[in-house]
Subunit: 341 residues, 2 copies
């Protein structure tokens, strides 16, 4: 008897345009036998991140190429159903690069056990790549000092909301930029941000002026575009600008320079302020993953670090769930519950 | 008897447009008596720098405000004719913030003796603010490592040509971008650059691809605009982009965001490379001036550091001489010989 699994494959590369359901195709594929050192698992949760669109475009070249017709990659959480790896036993919950499929056979070396004492899905967000990105980008590139004024774009997103709380733990004043009154209220009332600016209400420049009378010491950018440019106009002397994401740019075609949106007009302010703009990409900081994971887990267990999940359901909705990230529909870490798990 | 001196004053602020002769007015003013601690000098040379246009605009706020009708500021070299300061005697050659006037009375504390063993005008260029900018911006912000590929825009300019030679002394491969075959030939044949790209012949991107097969480790920018954007497309992992100047932007009005030229579209490449973009402003590095001056003087005396001067003549030509910097007419450090000195 051959076991089969449903899986989503990449049908087209969404270069220079928004994602569409037609970029994905639902297929059924056989599940291979479990080899030595391998584990078979049933997928319970899928995790979503804007970078997945870049992987489909296969331009930047910083991950394994995604082929047309190949499995859509992505992190997930599953339950072990069969194991030929000494580290895992049936019933264990594990995370790893499962991809968009309901059942998978993976090398055990690529999997991590879900930590004890926290809700399992935390392993996909605050204790997964999202949390490590927030911690390492903010600490290693943002170089916070107590008393700094920190401004975060995409502040109610999975990464931004963690960055803001770590900034508070670091003794900083924290201002978030987010879309909508509900997200702004959550940042201030629930997460303890010192202020929030609703970009959908306009007036980003005025809001930055009001909330940052002495300028911005750390600007943590997940958005790009006008928000980045406005922030560049208010940098303090010696400011650090962390380029972590650019959600406003993800539908432009990087192969066509004319089509790309302009960079920040105000970049030249780095001369007057001596400021630094630096990019962050998680894989470069692998040597610090263990430290980041330990600290994040402690903060989650103690309640010092809070997070919000945006939970969708049904494996067939995976493409639509990814698309939520690109128009700000998600509120918190975007997850998909697969099947009835 | 009252001594008088001709002087150029600022007649208008050249904001959002090119400099014009009408922005200056030639006047005659009395020379005040020499007070305690002061020195009277006769100006022999004036030194020119693109930042002088910014001073006239009085926007950035990083120098003393320049008033309409006030003396045009600028560095110069003069001969002491009367001294009430113990450090200077008649006949001494000194440099300092003389401004555009033929005779001046200044506090001795603001003056520096011209060093021995080098041509006096070196004190205005390679041993003045130009040389210190080149050394400190390249070393402190560019952080060169031996084997790095260094690309310099405005490479035949006063700052760029010194940066390139210091980069060679640092064990780097050096590619210059300059306007015209004569400037490019000078960089390679006289200064020892490993290659040069003539931006007037177009093909900057192709030139960078050819000369930097492994990417750019340090990009030292004096220009901005398309050249900066093209360089951002070829950054190596861990690259440092030094923003030292932006000659392509100096005629735009920073108060009008819509009028400013776009920033580098390719800025997001800092994410994929982990690169850093940082600005440089000389006054912030004052603590290192003595070290920089000593090293530059040693290299000039030994012949390791060469420079070229673009010498104009006649005090009445000061405005036209400054304007040469903004269309690339100058070839080397721009100086004006005042009177018959």
């Amino acid at each position: 008897m051959t076991t089969t699994s449903r899986q989503w494959v990449v049908a087209a590369r969404p270069i220079g345009r928004a994602l569409s359901e037609d970029d994905f195709r639902l297929e059924t594929a056989p599940v291979p036998p479990v080899g030595e050192g391998q584990v078979k698992l049933r997928t319970d949760w899928l995790s979503f991140d804007p970078a997945q669109k870049s992987w489909m475009e296969n331009i930047a070249g910083y991950v394994d190429p995604v082929e047309i017709g190949g499995l859509m990659p992505g992190a997930g959480l599953g339950e072990v159903v069969e194991s030929h790896h000494p580290g895992f036993a049936p019933g264990d919950l594990v995370t790893g690069p499962i991809g968009w499929r309901e059942m998978a056979v993976l090398d055990g070396a690529k999997l991590a056990a879900v930590p004890q004492g926290v809700p399992p899905t935390a392993a996909l967000g605050v204790l997964g790549g999202t949390g490590k990105t927030a911690y390492l980008a903010f600490v290693e590139v943002g170089k916070p000092k107590p008393g700094d004024t920190v401004v975060i774009s995409g502040a109610a997103g999975a990464t931004g909301s963690i960055v803001g709380q770590i900034a508070k733990l670091s003794g900083c004043r924290v201002i978030g930029i987010a879309g909508g009154a509900d997200k702004c209220a959550w940042l201030v009332d629930e997460l303890g941000f010192d202020g929030a600016i609703d970009y959908k209400a306009g007036k980003i420049r005025g809001g930055l002026k009001q909330h940052c009378p002495n300028g911005i010491d750390v600007f943590f950018d997940n958005v790009g575009g006008d928000i980045l440019n406005d922030a560049m106009a208010r940098l303090a002397v010696g400011a650090r600008v962390v380029i972590c994401g650019g959600i406003s740019r993800y539908n432009a075609d990087p192969r066509d320079p004319e089509q790309m949106p302009p960079g920040p007009r105000n970049y030249f302010n780095v001369v007057f302020t001596g400021a630094t703009i630096q990019g962050f990409l998680l894989p470069r900081y692998e040597a610090q993953f263990a430290v980041a994971n330990r600290r994040l887990a402690e903060w989650v267990r103690s309640g010092a670090l809070r997070y919000r999940e945006d939970i969708q359901a049904g494996f067939e909705n995976a493409p639509q769930t990814l698309m939520r990230l690109f128009d700000g529909r998600n509120f918190g870490k975007q997850l998909l519950r697969v099947g009835s798990a």
